[in-house]
Amino acid sequence: MSKADTRSIDFMEVPEHTVEIITNSGEGAQKCAQIFGQTCAKMGNGVWTVEIIPAEIEPPHHTVTSTSGNIIRFGTEKITNWGDQSRLAVAFNDQVLLSRHRLDSLKDDCIILLDSCWQEHDDEEIHRMYHEAMEEMSTKNYRFVLVPIEEEALKIVDNPSHGKNMFALGMLAEIYQRDVSIIEKQIAHIFRFKPPKVTEKNIELVKSGIKWAKENLDFQFHIKSIPFDEERIVMNGNQAAAIGAIAAGMELCAMYPITPATSVSHELSEIIESFGGMVHQAEDEIAAAGVAIGASYAGKVALTVTSGPGMALKTEFLALAIMVEVPLVVLNVQRGGPSTGLPTKVEQSDLLSSLYGQPGDAPRVVIAPRTIEECFHAMVTARRIAETFRCVVIVLTDANLATGVQQFTRPPLDVRWQQGAIDQSPVPEGLRPYDWDPETGLSRRIIPGSPGGQHTVTGLAHDEESLVSYHPSSNELGMKMRSRKLAVFQSTLMPPELHGDKEGDMLVVGWGSTQGAIVEAVDRARSEGLKVSTCQLTFLSPLEPGLKDIFSRFRKVMTVEINYSDTPGDPYINEETRRYGQLAWLLRAHTLVDIDCWTSCPGQPLRPRDIYTHIIARLEPNEEGVAA
């Protein structure tokens, strides 16, 4: 350990750093990281955070499986993903640290601030585990700094589990020269509903962390920030979606608790009533869809928020909404599947079920925001599409966007996005409930309250008058009209933008939250002269126009996705048996291009280095026989 008296401070200027706070579940890592990340953002740094959370509320402490933590990547420039490995870690015990080591999350020369209380622990078992863990980690050149985290926290609070996090925050504040007044303000905000003493204690803990670091650490990192004059906000994807829903004028959200979507409803529950709306916590996922559909049918465009297993339960209702052409917005914050899968983790496995997950043909719009900022805009767009096309719009985000925190330009708001008065004008004689325009399939939505418009919508096959009809031609017409709307909507879309050249050796195609990591990987390849470009799709049903043309200008097209696909070369896996990633599957069918994929489902966001590695591996030799 460093000694205060003789040291000189090693002051390092770096463009960015990645920090991990690793604790037992329930020791406040998220709070510490949340404040640290927000402080970095408020000081003008680019930020991206990723939560490491177990599915249990508080699993047994001091075990590899109890790890709860947060990764904060921040830098001078904009940060778009969690990066590769962490350069500094604060660990409250050896076992949770070990879990991160085993996941290869820590850089080889990572600085690790580890609580010193375990090294010489009286309990023989703890002592033994500690030394075994250290032995296992000795393969790396980690720089360990033992810190009396618990001991210092105990000087201020009786229960160190409620104090170590703020001491750690103080150390980080000193190491990275953070503005303490910003930290204090945030602590006051977080504990605003608690007695003032709680805020005071927490600030005292932060200060003791700062003091300890000042006296004992011999290094500091400085990360410059670029001054900006636009207004910026910092939030996670679920907050952005919630605020976006309100900005979009949605006044009713019906939901049932499910990780990792629930925090959208937390955010909405806190504020939506002051916007004339409500969150209805339904008895189950199915009812949540039903309530939202009922409200939409009655004139409000409602929202239901869920994750994979909830989507599965809602499918019958979604098909009903599509059949009766009631607008509906569904936010699916994807998690790991199948079944209960990885409830708190990242995956992109609901693409195909979002497109096709119901009996019968039920065309709907599926959009996938690529950034936290787009989570906001997607809600506004979704409501607009749902109403214009009398259709269901599914917004697919994932746990990476949901809990990641990023700063972005404060979005402009528009009063026209808000819900106007419900159209109750009399329905002209002869206007039918499904007076489909034969070209576009569009029809006027007749809402209860409109005199002369009385009709019964039905999930049964029906004709233009909404009368139950089993006639072959009327069934075909209904199918055609519901599908036509998607084609009409597609005609309003632009082809996707390419990052990189318009032609080359490889085009990497992604969708949703992986954009930042893919772009970083592609940039790395491009900086080495490789002819690699990328595009990130947002509209998945209907697909954006021009894909076949874009793909035709690359020697190879490969999707990168966080879902399962068979690995070529594995036993039994060949041309005939290989199952592709979900976007690859879709694009192959759509374009008839022989698209390859590299997918992975580790339950965490993809690393730029892993994407880079697979780009290199899959680049096919050119005429000269070398990777282009």
């Binding site: 953002a41 408020k42 003008g44 207004e231 910026r232 906000i233 910092v234 907050q239 605020i243 309100i246 004028g249 006044e251 009713l252 504020i271 002051s274 916007f275 004339g276 709306g277 409500m278 209805h280 339904a282 008895e283 189950d284 199915i286 009812a287 949540a288 869809a289 039903g290 309530v291 559909i293 009922g294 409200a295 049918y297 009655a298 004139g299 409000k300 409602a302 019958e316 209702f317 009903l320 009766v324 404060r410 708001l413 528009d414 009063v415 026209r416 808000q418 106007g420 419900i422 209860p448 309250g449 409109s450 418009g453 009385q454 009709h455 019964t456 919508v457 039905t458 049964l460 139950v468």
Partner: protein
């Protein structure tokens, strides 16, 4: 119809501007001849005429089953949804538009089987709607399968040797739910009582659950035969806050004064198997209504944008 069926002779005669009961019929119903649903539709139309409900301000919501075709035949807005899920849709309609009159029609399979979860919770939400559970003790539309209310021993295609379990009692179940505010039972073969019960249900501000006993002419024509033939086997629960039709006094000798505010008595009467009981078992008009609890002041679009701008400050960098 049975010999004791009382026809609807005392229809109100409306003024020329008034809508008559027949004005509330949208198109001829396509139920089987002798189906109990016809009687319910007649009483509903009569109630709508009595209350002069505006067709455009009235919504009928249903699930799937014979009785769920109901909205197609009523001159109002209608939502014929999916099996078991009428109540969530109706709740959504009511939350979005509390001013609309909402009626729900469900069958016994719809309500007490596939939609049982929604039934319990909708009862607890206590949104203001009239909920008609048309209970013919059988799955009719899918052609004769045992439902939860099929009497034990009664044969069907799925229980050819008779239903193996005791029937589920929808009254006891509903009365057992916290916040239940109106629970009544009536029967298709006593139309006057049916009408009076619908009126009470409509008058009650809250979730009015009415179980309507009725026969399926194809699969359960005889299920209530004893009661249809012998009025002495039926006891009417009468009260000024429930249903009390003087015209029925001569037919039904067994009459019990039951204060619908008394939940303990209601539960005890629902549990007894000695006689069939028709009437309002429970009614409490003072219980809070969900859409009123959740009501918040309207906010103009401009004000919303202003508030949202303020909200952004919480996240400002």
């Amino acid at each position: 119809m049975s010999s004791i069926a009382i026809s609807l002779l005392d229809l109100e005669t409306g003024s020329p501007e008034c809508l008559e009961a027949e004005d509330y019929q949208k198109r001829p119903a396509k139920w089987c001849a002798g189906c109990g649903d016809f009687g319910v539709l007649n009483s509903v139309k009569r109630l709508m005429a009595k209350e002069q409900l505006q067709p455009e301000k009235t919504v009928f919501v249903s699930g799937i089953g014979c009785s769920s075709r109901f909205p197609h035949y009523v001159n109002s807005y209608g939502f014929h949804g999916i099996h078991g899920r009428a109540l969530p849709v109706a709740t959504g309609v009511k939350l979005a538009r509390p001013e609309l009159d909402v009626f729900v029609t469900m069958g016994d399979g719809d309500c007490t089987s596939i939609g049982a979860g929604h039934w319990i919770h909708a009862t607890r939400y206590n949104a203001n709607m009239v909920v008609l559970m048309l209970d013919n003790n059988i799955y009719g539309l899918t052609k004769n399968q045992t439902s939860p209310t099929t009497p034990q021993g009664y044969a069907s295609m799925t229980s050819p040797r008779g239903a193996v379990l005791p029937a589920l009692d929808p009254l006891q179940a509903t009365l057992g739910v916290s916040n239940a505010s109106f629970v009544a039972q009536t029967a298709d073969w006593v139309p006057v009582h049916l009408y009076a019960t619908l009126q009470a249900a409509y008058d009650h501000p809250g979730f009015s659950f009415v179980r309507i006993l009725q026969r399926c002419p194809k699969f359960t024509p005889d299920v209530f035969q004893k009661n249809v033939e012998n009025p002495d086997l039926t006891e009417l629960l009468v009260h000024e806050n429930g249903v009390d039709v003087p015209a029925l006094a001569q037919l039904f000798k067994a009459r019990r004064t039951h204060d619908p505010l008394n939940l303990d008595d209601a539960r005890s009467l629902a549990r007894r198997r000695d006689m069939l009981r028709l009437g309002v078992f429970f009614r409490d008009d003072s219980l809070p209504v969900y859409e009123e609890i959740r009501a918040v002041p309207k906010v103009s679009a401009e004000e919303k944008v202003a508030r949202l701008n303020k909200e952004f400050k919480r996240y400002a960098v």
